[in-house]
């Protein structure tokens, strides 16, 4: 169900509906969410063990989603009886989020649409025990993601995790910056990637004798070597259907190879770099195209080709004689843009290029910013930046330009934003 911020019915109807819980039958009423707008959502105070934590997590998740304006003042009285919709409208809200904890470990969530004076969505969510544990927090994030979908039609990305490299090995962190921890049993690692199922990962293992691609089922812990005998194997990426793993491999230069994950077919190369670097593949959402970094022109550029390597073409370019380099492509989940790192005035910045008209938008300018990775909502990017003094992960809302720091502590880099985790809608 989508809320529509723009009033399309008469104020008479609206007045009649104020204070009511159901819309007048036969009358079309509502709001249309439009990109660039941020409808206000008032989050009511709530009672129960952990209630403040639930309210705080949901409020923060909705705020991080950058699609709604959260109104959640400290304290306040938990309302009893019908809500005074007019009051919340005067506070700038378009909707009111009411969460109650019946005491059975569940969370009852209702979204009141003020313009129609109705409860537009209501759902009971189970919160796994123990309270405040990672599973419990993930369940609360799912609540926030669902509420964002109710309000805007777009599901949030709070119930996701980000893989990254810290101290030479793999770490993961929740999308809100909590629960940062190493992935157990991983040695020297670079360039992590998520399988679309959210429970399998791949990464580059860097050893004294070379690098290879490893893949692990996070549920079972089973790990497999996916690369062949080439000395250099790097930058793994799963196809959107999860049936193939692409990576770069070679002894003198690297080419992109694709390895089916099922069946007896072996890996095959989709580039013929002849000593140049071809790496960092990223698939289009339909799996038919692939973008990658290549040095075949003598400098780094991003190419785009069919997923079998046919029809390669230069994606990023500027004027004749341009010797700047571009790398780290990440194809947006909506298929419309490719994010990448580009060198501007000697420093790397995060930019996106629209596939429709090849227009480029620079998103960063402060410090060094690189290695973007799209969130599943095709709106947020996680990237590495030294703007805070040391290299850390930051999250960028590509629509508003709003940024927040995701990691703190030791250097963090090479982020891969995962899909919505299993169980999330």
């Amino acid at each position: 169900m989508r809320l529509r911020p723009f009033l399309v019915v008469s104020s008479v109807v609206l007045s009649a509906a104020l204070g009511a819980q159901e819309p007048a039958p036969g009358v079309r009423i509502g709001l249309t969410y439009a990109p660039g707008t941020r409808p206000g959502v008032y989050i009511l105070p709530m009672r129960g063990a952990g209630a403040d934590s639930v309210r705080g997590i949901v409020a923060r998740d909705l705020d991080h989603g950058d699609r709604v304006a959260v109104i959640a003042p400290e304290g306040g009285v938990v309302p009893s009886g019908p809500l005074n919709y007019a009051l919340y409208q005067r506070l700038g809200a378009a909707a009111v989020l009411q969460m109650t904890m019946p005491g059975d470990g569940s969370l009852q969530v209702a979204l009141h649409e003020l313009v129609s004076s109705t409860v537009r969505n209501s759902q009971r969510f189970v919160l796994p025990q123990p309270a405040f544990g990672p599973g419990w927090r993930l369940a609360v994030h799912r609540v926030a993601d669902e509420v964002e979908r109710w309000v805007t039609g777009q599901q949030g990305v709070a119930a996701t995790r980000v893989l990254f490299v810290r101290g030479g090995t793999l770490w993961q962190v929740d999308a809100d910056g909590e629960n940062a921890m190493p992935v157990p049993g991983v040695g020297a690692a670079l360039g992590p990637a998520w399988h679309p199922n959210g429970s399998t990962i791949a990464w580059t293992e860097l050893g004294d004798a070379g690098s290879r691609i490893l893949m692990r089922d996070l549920t079972s812990g089973r790990t497999a070597v996916m690369s062949g005998r080439a000395a250099a194997n790097l930058s793994p990426a799963f196809a959107p259907d999860g049936a193939q793993l692409a990576y770069a491999a070679g002894n003198d230069g690297t080419d992109i190879v694709v390895r089916p994950l099922a069946g007896d077919d072996g890996a095959y190369a989709i580039t013929a770099g002849r000593g140049s670097t071809n790496a960092q593949p990223t698939f289009s959402p339909d799996g038919r195209r692939v973008a990658f970094t290549t040095s075949r022109l003598g400098r780094n550029e991003i190419y785009i080709s069919d997923s079998d390597g046919a029809n390669p073409e230069l994606l990023t370019t500027s004027g004749f004689g341009d010797q700047l380099y571009r790398s780290d492509p990440s194809w947006s989940p909506d298929g419309r843009t490719v994010a990448f790192s580009t060198q501007i005035e000697g420093r790397f910045q995060v930019a996106t290029i629209a596939l429709r008209d090849r227009s480029v938008k620079q998103h960063t300018s402060e410090g060094i910013n690189e290695d973007p990775s799209w969130a599943p909502d095709a709106r947020h990017l996680v990237f590495t930046s030294n703007r805070g003094g040391s290299r850390q992960l930051w999250v960028l809302d590509t629509e508003s330009g709003r940024m927040r720091q995701l990691t703190r502590g030791s250097v963090a880099r090479m982020a891969a934003w995962g899909p919505r985790l299993p169980g999330a809608r």
Binding site: T204, G210, G253, N300, S327, S341
Partner: protein, 215 residues
């Protein structure tokens, strides 16, 4: 005085008696002959003892000299050996140093410079003199740019050095290449002086380093 008169008379008589005994020829008396013979024998024995002592002393002196000479010879030989070993050790150290000498690259490039080729040229006699030697070339980059791309760039840099050595006749099976990208900087820093030292190939002897032959 009167009391001593008898004693004096006795002494005088005794002396008179002795003086009146007739004398014999000393050379002909048996006692004299015996004594002479004994003296002669004693003299010979003494001479023999002395001669033996002298001979022994001479032998001891000679032995001491010989020992000293031997010690000196040993010391000299030892010194020579140490000096020779030091020379060899210095030569091996120099050979290792020559072999380990790094080559450096321009930013975002994997092509060998003229200086890099000269550095690689100096390694060729070492590789030829040590046919059983296996080596590993590790490519590195500076911190700028894509971390993953730099891993690939380091590989190209290592491969460029290998390609040159192979072109000069070194069996490619003796050369492994590996890239560490920007992960193992030699110099920490965020300026060109640090970056230029980090854009490098390192050379390591994997097999045959213990018995390195100096070309």
């Amino acid at each position: 005085m009167r009391r001593h008169l008898p004693r004096l008379a006795l002494v005088a008589f005794s002396l008179l008696t002795v003086a009146c005994v007739p004398k014999k020829d000393p050379s002909t008396s048996p006692e004299a002959l015996a004594a002479a013979a004994k003296a002669k024998a004693d003299s010979v024995a003494a001479a023999q003892v002395e001669a033996a002592r002298v001979a022994e002393a001479a032998r001891a002196e000679a032995a001491a000299k010989a020992e000293a000479a031997a010690k000196a010879a040993i010391a000299k030989a030892t010194a020579d050996s140490v000096a020779r070993a030091e020379v060899i050790a210095r030569a091996i150290t120099a050979t290792r140093s020559t072999f380990a000498e790094m080559i450096f690259f321009d930013y975002d490039r994997a092509e060998l410079t003229t200086e890099s080729r000269e550095t690689l040229e100096a390694k060729l006699p070492i590789l030829r003199a040590n046919a059983g030697m296996r080596i590993r070339i590790a490519g590195h980059t500076d911190e700028r740019g894509s971390d993953e791309y730099n891993l690939a760039l380091g590989q190209r840099r290592a491969a460029a050095a290998k390609r040159y050595l192979v072109s000069q006749g070194i069996d490619e099976s003796r050369i492994d290449v590996v890239s560490f990208g920007e992960e193992r900087p030699m110099v920490e820093g965020a300026d060109e002086s640090a970056w230029s030292q980090n854009r490098r190939d390192e050379f390591e002897i994997v097999v045959g380093g213990d018995a390195l032959r100096v070309p």
